[in-house]
Structures are given as C-alpha cells and as structure tokens.
C-alpha cells in the first residue's frame, strides 16, 4: 500500500514525532510505502504535496488536534486515530487501514 499520514499532538514536542517514528518503522517492516508529515512545535515538516496525496491509496491521521491545511485531503479516504494508538500498537493500525 501507498500510505500518507499526518501526526499531530497537543504540545507538539514529543508524541508527534514518536508516532511518526513508529509508523515509518512499522510500514517499512510490513513492506508498505509511507510518507509521514509531522505537525509539531516546529511547524509542518515533511509536508505532503497534492501529488503525494493524489498518488496515495489511503490517508491516516494520527492526531489529537485539528490537522492544518486539511483542504488538501478533500475527497481522500481518511482513517483517523488518536496519537497514542500509533505509538502503542502500530501494527494494529496498519491492519485497520487494510479494511
């Protein structure tokens, strides 16, 4: 699967990045392609372009707050989970995406 994701936690210092790390590691081990945009205290990093979004099979929001520039994802299938879930059990998250 080609997956795009956004992670965003309230303070934007730690959990945003921990979730991103977990998703990237697990995707790799499961053989998926993934690009993760982090929305944290440093602002938006690894920003997803419209092309990235268009070419992806599915979008994943691992967020506890509003996603910035959400318009980009209009029309895309989105699965949304709390940030904690991505950190705790990323494998289960990918199971969810398959359905």
């Amino acid at each position: 699967m080609k997956i795009i994701a956004v992670t965003a936690c309230p303070t934007g210092i730690a959990h945003t990045y921990m979730a991103a790390e977990q998703l990237e590691k697990t995707a790799k081990s499961l053989g998926h392609q993934i690009k993760v945009e982090t929305q944290g205290a440093m602002g938006i990093e690894n920003e997803l372009s419209l092309k990235d979004i268009r070419e992806a099979d599915i979008a994943l929001f691992a967020v506890d707050i509003e996603v910035e520039k959400r318009e980009r994802f209009d029309g895309k299938k989105i699965v949304q989970i709390p940030v904690k879930e991505a950190i705790k059990d990323p494998a289960a998250v990918f199971e969810k995406l398959k359905m």
């Binding site: 210092i13 945003t16 990045y17 440093m42 602002g43």
Partner: protein
C-alpha cells in the same frame, strides 16, 4: 413612664453587623429612654445604644427581634425606631468586605498530595520558615501604667473623658481629610466604638467599683468586649475585636505610656510570629535571628513593616484574617512564603517535602557562591557595581556577606516614622556613623529625608493634598523644615569622617534646589570646622533622578553635583503618567516602554559625557529580565535588595556586554511594549551555546513516592541548576500537559514535557528510579526512567527543537532505550545522549 415595643424580623442578608448596628445605635442614642434589643432566637438582650452590644448579639437574617423602649421620650423614640427598622435598615446594607472570603491559591500538584488544610495569605517576602507560633500584639497594659496607683475616681474618669475626646478628634480629623472609602469605613466604625455607651459603662464601672486606674479600666473593658466578639460565629464579627483593641490602644496612648512595646517577648528559639497588626517599631524590637517567619493579619503589602521584613529577608505573609484564632500559640507551623500559605499541621510527608525544599534552596545558593565575592563582571570583561538597598544598619553585614559592593541606597525615613517628633542629630549620627563603620571602606549612599506622598509624618504637619505624589514632598519641603533637615545634614556630614559616605537628595527637579542644599552644606562645614569636628570636605553629593525634567538639564546639574542615581519607581510613574497603585493601568507601569528606555539611555549618556557617575536604585533592578537592558545602558552601579545580589551577579557573569548593548538598541527601536518583550525573549533563543543537559540534571538510582514526587524532584534539580527561576510555574506547566494525556510511552519510560517561559533555556533532564512508578502508561507498565523536556517558545526553528524530536523518535527504538537503562553511571548517560542527539559539548 411609658413602655413601647416593636417587633421585627432582621431583613439583612449579612445580619446585624457593625455598619447597620452603628446606624441603629445612632438613632437610639438621640433619645433619653432606655432602649434594648432582644434576639428571640438566642434570648440575648442588649443595649440598643451600644454598637458593640448589638454586634455581639449575633442577630442573623430572619431572627425575630424585639425593641423595648422605656422612658419619658418613649413615644418619639418608638416612632423613630419603627421608622428606621421598617424603612431605613432594610436598604442600608452594603456587601460585606471580602474578609470572609477565602482566597484561592493554586498549590503545586506535589504539595497538594501531602497536605489537606492550609491558611492562605499574600506572600510579601519569599522564603520558608518553621517554628512554634508566638502571638504578638493585642491589648497589653504597659508596665508603668499597670503599676501606677489610681487617683481619685473623678480624676480617673476625667482622664478617660479627655482621652476619648482626643481620640474622637483625631478620627474626625482623618475623616475630614477625605481618605479612601475603605479607610473612611474603618474610621466611622472606630468613631462609633470610641463613643460606645456599653464600653464607657464598663470602663466606668471598673473605675468606680473596681477602683482601677483609667488605664487599667480601659484594658479590662477592652479585653472583655474583645473576648465576647472573638467568641462569635462569624469571622467578620471576630475581626471587630481588633477594632475594639485598636481603640483601647489609642485611648491608652493618650493617657500615657508606650503602648506598642513588646519588650516582654523573649524568643527562646526560632519562632513564627503571628500578629493582626505589627508596627515597624515592634518588629525591630524582636530578635530578628529568631524570627523564622512572620504571619500578619491586616498589614498592607506596601506598609513599612513589610518593607522592614523584606530587608531582613524574613519569610512573610500578610492578609491572613483571624490570625490569632487560626494559629494557636505554641503550635508548630510552616510558613511557605514562596506560595503564600501557612501549614498548621506538620505531618511526616509535609516534613519531608519541606526538607527537600530547604535542600533545594541551599543547593541553589551554593551555585551562586562563587559569584558572591568577586566584583560583578560580564563574560566579556565589563564591570558593574552591584550594591544593596537598605533601611537599617542591622542589614549591612548580611548584605556584604551576599556580595554587595556597597550600599546604593540607605533609606533614612525609618528613623523618622512612628514617633512624635523628629530624631535628634545625635540619634541620627549614631545610626549613620554605625553604617559607615560597618561598611568598612565600602561606599554608603544616604538618601536625605524623602517624605510626603505615601510616607507622611505626623509631626511635620504636612498638608493634605489631592495628588501627593506630584506635590509637597522630597527636597521641596526642606526650606520650610530647615531645622529638621539641617540636623540630618549635619549628622550625615559628621558620619563622613568615619567611612566612604555619599549623600543624595530626592525629588530634585532644578538647579536651585541643589544650590540650596549646597549652601546648607557649606554653612555646616564652616560650623563644624570652627568646632574642630571631623568630616570629609569632599563627600560626594548627588541627586536622585525621579523627575523627568532632570533628563534635560543633566549638563546644568552635572556642574553642581558629583553623581546621579536613577529611581525608576517614581521616574516611571511621572514619565509615563501612570499611577502604580491603580489596577486599571497596572499594565502600563513597566520599564519595557521604548520611550522609557530611550529616556534612560539619554540620562546615562549625558551623565557620562559630563564626566559623572550614574547608578540605579529603583525596582527595575529586581527583575532579572531587565538585566541585559541595564548592562546595555552602561550604568556604573545597580542597587537592589541584598537577597537578590548573588543571583544577579551570577546572571551578569553569563551575559556579554556587547550583546546587551545590541539588545538595548533593538529594544529602543521597538514600537510597543510587546515588541520590547519579544526582543528580551529572543535573547534566550539565540543563546545556542547553552547546554541542553548537564551533570546536575541526570540522576540515577533515585527513590520516589510517585509521579508527583518524581516530577518535583526533576524540577527541584532544574531550579538548583539555575535552569528555572519559577519552579512552581514550571511544575504547573508540566502537569498541564500531563493531565491532557499521560506521557508514559511504555517500556518503562515516561517523557513529561512542556512549553513555557518558566524555563530559562531549553533543557533535558533524566532520572532513573530504583522503584517503578505508576504512570498510567500506554502499556500499563510502571515507569523506571523519566526524561523531562522543557522548551521556551511556541514557534521555534532552533536546533533545540530538532534535538527534542530526535530524542522522541529514538525512544521508539528498543536498543536506544536499553542503552539508557543499562548505562552504568551519569557520565555514560551524558556522553551517550550527547553523541546520539548531536548536543554541543560546552
């Protein structure tokens, strides 16, 4: 003889308290008849002409009452009472003062866990004190009056009448001066007490039947009424007991004797002093070394007692209503004047908590120890003198121990306050000479008498003004009080023979004021010379810069004086046209206004251009945020509270004068206070040379009670290392995040974090615990390793934020985690993290 009765139900929401009671008593006193009030609920009966008796009856809303009137004029009396009770009293009530309301305080999470009840007040001098409660104040009969035998009954009665008339006149005088509403209310209540029928009856009985002297009779009566009021159910009524005592003290003053004396109180060990009201003189008479803490009821935060407490660094809380009832004498309590609470019961957890607090503060002081002795010097070698502001000679040794280079401001008003006449030249000389000697070669700058405005003196008969701050004060009053000022000048000039004495004059705004002073000084020189009395003919004479006008005539004044000292408090008020006591405009009272900074810059530059010395002694020196601006200005000296000096000198050592000059320039170019704020905030962001982690912030093999305690331990370490100056705020910020969602990320790790300006520089701290802590983690497992991250600003693209996100990602890696758990010692952890996160080594 006719008898009339009127029944009614008390309609007042707050019951029959002092204000409506005094209105009722006013009506009743107009008539000759006997008028009594009966409270049917309690069956208490009282004289309706006595405010005290009425208040003590504790009439509450809804209580059925009966007024009974008997006498020759009973009919008109009845009509008047009925009219008052039916039509006037129901609408004459006002909301009670907030004395009954407890104010909220936000206790740190870690403290909330260990205590249940606290008493809350306003902290006015930070610190922690512990000891048994010693109650000071209250109605005491001075020895000489107690032992004086009673004269004839008529004589003693006359003394009471005269005293009462004098007190009444004084109260009416103060009322006529149009004080604030709050003070007027108190004065009116006092007026009704001083004329209170029941009080006078009681005093009279004590004289006539008890054969007491007037003084004795008054004290007995005062105590009796105070006891009655103290036993009442509401805090408001209990507080009126203080009013009764206050009036009785005033009566005693007029009969003679030093009523404020607390000479009998000998402290046997460190004690917590509790008093409703404490005069500066009373505080001075106590052995300061044994005053571990001070808890006050009614003393205002800007009062002289508080200023004195601060100068002796006594942990002090004020505004605690009902002090004497709430803090029983002898009970061991803790005064935490960092937060503003008194802890009445010291359990083991509380004891442990405060032992940690004390250790935390002493570790922090140790950090500054190396900066105390050497002169304050910036990183790039720029020197500035750091001196102390004091009000008494006793403070000097302590100030020098804390690294003061000298005394930048010796406030002389304390010598003049709370007395009936000005201090003599000899009395002043002994104080000034004592200070000069104690300073042992260091400079001591005495400020000549600065009164008027908020510091009036009874015996000078200063006029009442609508606008005292802009009125008759400071140097302006000197020509009219020639004798008083000459005594002071003589005393200071004589003291100059014994040390490095300087003299400065307050509220100067023109050259002729300075010339007046110099003429007096010349006269005194001639006189002393003729009497062969020693003095220093070259004693430096200077002026306070408090009036903005001075900024434009520095050239003219520099030709007449040797130095300048900037008094920022008044200078800011006058320059920005802001009353610092007015809540509405409080946000405008700040030195961070670009115009004010330009003013300061101009003053310093002009003074230096004319070859003179310029220091600063106002409160602007207290806030560490302002320090870069003060260094940038190029001041020769800053003078501040002695307790702040070590931290201040330590901060100066971290600054670069060059950077400070640039910071000041940027601040002066800012357009708004907010922009200046941002300039100051950005200094920290650019201080990339500051390490993110250091040895003191890594602790292994620690023991803890739980989550609150663990976080507190880390924050204590941050505080001891100087990473934060606001540990309570930092703790609150960490908890604010923690409460949103637990930071226990599983695998035995937790990563509490926050964004706050309570941290001075982005910081990482790590604690490994011997025992596992319940942390509501993602995987439900306890936490053994806690890493706390604190960053300053919201939007930051600095390298530090990248370090944090890198750390967060690495914690998802099992290898990384295991390395942290297995590292043998602190150095191993430090070098591991430094390498993995690419931290700077310095």
């Amino acid at each position: 003889m006719s008898t009339y009765e009127h029944a009614f139900r008390c309609p007042l929401a707050n019951g029959l308290h002092a204000r409506p009671a005094s209105r009722l008593a006013d009506v009743a006193t107009r008539f000759k008849s006997e008028i009594t009030l009966t409270n049917e609920r309690t069956e208490a009966v009282g004289n309706a002409k006595s405010v005290l008796a009425l208040v003590a009856m504790d009439v509450r809303r809804g209580d059925g009452c009966r007024v009974r009137i008997q006498g020759a004029d009973a009919q008109p009396a009845h009509a008047a009472m009925r009219e008052f009770l039916s039509n006037v009293m129901p609408v004459c009530d006002e909301p009670l003062p907030a004395a009954d309301a407890e104010y909220e305080v936000d206790l740190p999470c870690s403290l909330k866990k260990v205590i249940s009840t606290v008493h809350v007040g306003t902290p006015v001098c930070a610190g922690i004190g512990q000891g048994p409660v010693v109650i000071v104040g209250g109605l005491t009969l001075p020895d000489e009056l107690a032992s004086a035998p009673a004269a004839s009954i008529d004589d003693e009665r006359r003394k009471v009448r005269t005293a009462a008339a004098a007190v009444r006149a004084a109260l009416e005088g103060r009322l006529a001066a149009r004080p604030s509403e709050v003070e007027a209310g108190i004065l009116r209540a006092h007026l009704s007490i001083v004329g209170d029928v029941a009080l006078h009856d009681c005093i009279d009985t004590n004289i006539a039947e008890g054969r007491r002297s007037a003084a004795f009779a008054i004290v007995e009566a005062g105590r009796a009424f105070a006891a009655q009021l103290t036993a009442a159910g509401s805090a408001y009524i209990r507080e009126r007991a203080i009013d009764v005592e206050d009036i009785c003290m005033q009566l005693l003053e007029h009969i003679g004797g030093d009523v404020g004396r607390v000479g009998d109180i000998k402290l046997v060990g460190p004690s917590v002093i509790a008093a409703d009201n404490l005069t500066p003189r009373q505080l001075l008479s106590l052995d300061k070394r044994l005053v571990a803490g001070l808890v006050l009821g009614h003393v205002g935060t800007t009062s002289h007692t508080v200023i004195l407490a601060r100068s002796f660094n006594i942990p002090t809380i004020t505004g605690l209503s009902d002090v004497r009832t709430r803090l029983p004498a002898g009970a061991e309590v803790i005064v935490d004047a960092n937060i503003g609470i008194v802890i009445p019961q010291i359990t083991d957890p509380v004891r442990r908590y405060y032992e940690r607090e004390r250790r935390k503060y002493s570790l922090r002081r140790e950090r500054f120890a190396q900066y105390i002795d050497p002169p304050a010097t910036t990183r790039d070698g720029h020197r500035i003198d750091v001196a102390a502001n004091v009000a008494t000679v006793e403070e000097l040794p302590g100030a020098f121990e804390l690294g003061a280079a000298g005394v930048g401001l010796f406030r002389t008003e304390m010598l003049f306050m709370d007395r009936d006449e000005a201090p003599s030249e000899e009395e002043q000389f002994s104080v000034y000479a004592g200070a000069a000697r104690s300073a042992g070669g260091r400079d001591v700058i005495f400020r000549t008498l600065d009164i008027g405005g908020d510091k009036p003196l009874r015996y000078l008969n200063l006029p009442d003004e609508a606008n005292p701050f802009l009125g008759y004060r400071g140097v302006r009053i000197y020509p009219d009080h020639h004798d008083v000022i000459s005594s002071q000048l003589r005393a200071i000039i004589r003291a100059s023979a014994l040390g490095k004495v300087w003299m400065m004059v307050p509220m100067v705004c023109s050259v002729d004021e300075v010339r007046w002073i110099k003429t007096r000084v010349a006269e005194i020189h001639a006189d002393l010379k003729a009497s062969a009395v020693a003095f220093d003919p070259h004693m430096p004479i200077g002026v306070m810069v408090e009036v903005p006008a001075v900024a434009f005539i520095v050239d003219q004044l520099a030709a007449e004086v040797d130095f300048f000292s900037i008094g920022t408090n008044d200078l800011m008020q006058h320059f920005l046209a802001v009353d610092r006591t007015s809540d509405r405009v409080a946000s405008l009272y700040t030195p961070l206004h670009p115009a004010f900074l330009r003013l300061l810059d101009k003053i310093v530059a002009d003074v230096h251009r004319h070859g003179r010395w310029v220091g600063m002694c106002g409160e602007m020196t207290r806030d560490p945020r302002n320090l870069p601006l003060l260094i940038g200005l190029g001041l020769d000296e800053i003078s501040t509270a002695a307790s702040e000096i070590p931290a201040l000198k330590a901060s100066i050592a971290q600054l670069s004068a060059d950077c400070c000059r640039r910071t000041l320039a940027n601040a002066m170019n800012a357009r708004t206070i907010a922009e200046v704020d941002a300039v100051l905030a950005s200094i920290h962001d650019h201080d990339a040379t500051r390490r993110m982690i250091e040895p003191g912030l890594v602790m292994l093999d620690a023991e803890t009670d739980g989550k609150e305690d663990a976080i507190k331990q880390m924050i204590d370490a941050f505080f001891a290392a100087g990473r934060t100056d606001a540990p309570i705020k930092l703790e609150a910020a960490v908890w604010a995040r923690e409460q949103v969602c637990s930071t226990g990320l599983g695998h035995g790790f937790a990563i509490p974090h926050c964004k706050t300006d309570a941290i001075n520089a982005d910081t990482i701290g790590l604690i490994r615990f011997r025992n596992g802590i319940e942390w509501q983690s993602i995987d439900g497992r306890p936490v053994n390793c806690m890493i706390l991250l604190a960053t300053r600003a919201a939007q930051q693209n600095g390298t530090h934020m990248q370090v944090f996100s890198k750390l967060a990602r690495k914690l998802m890696n099992e290898d990384f985690r295991n390395r942290l758990l297995a590292a043998p010692d602190r150095d191993a952890i430090l070098s591991f993290l430094t390498e993995e996160l690419g931290l700077s080594a310095t």
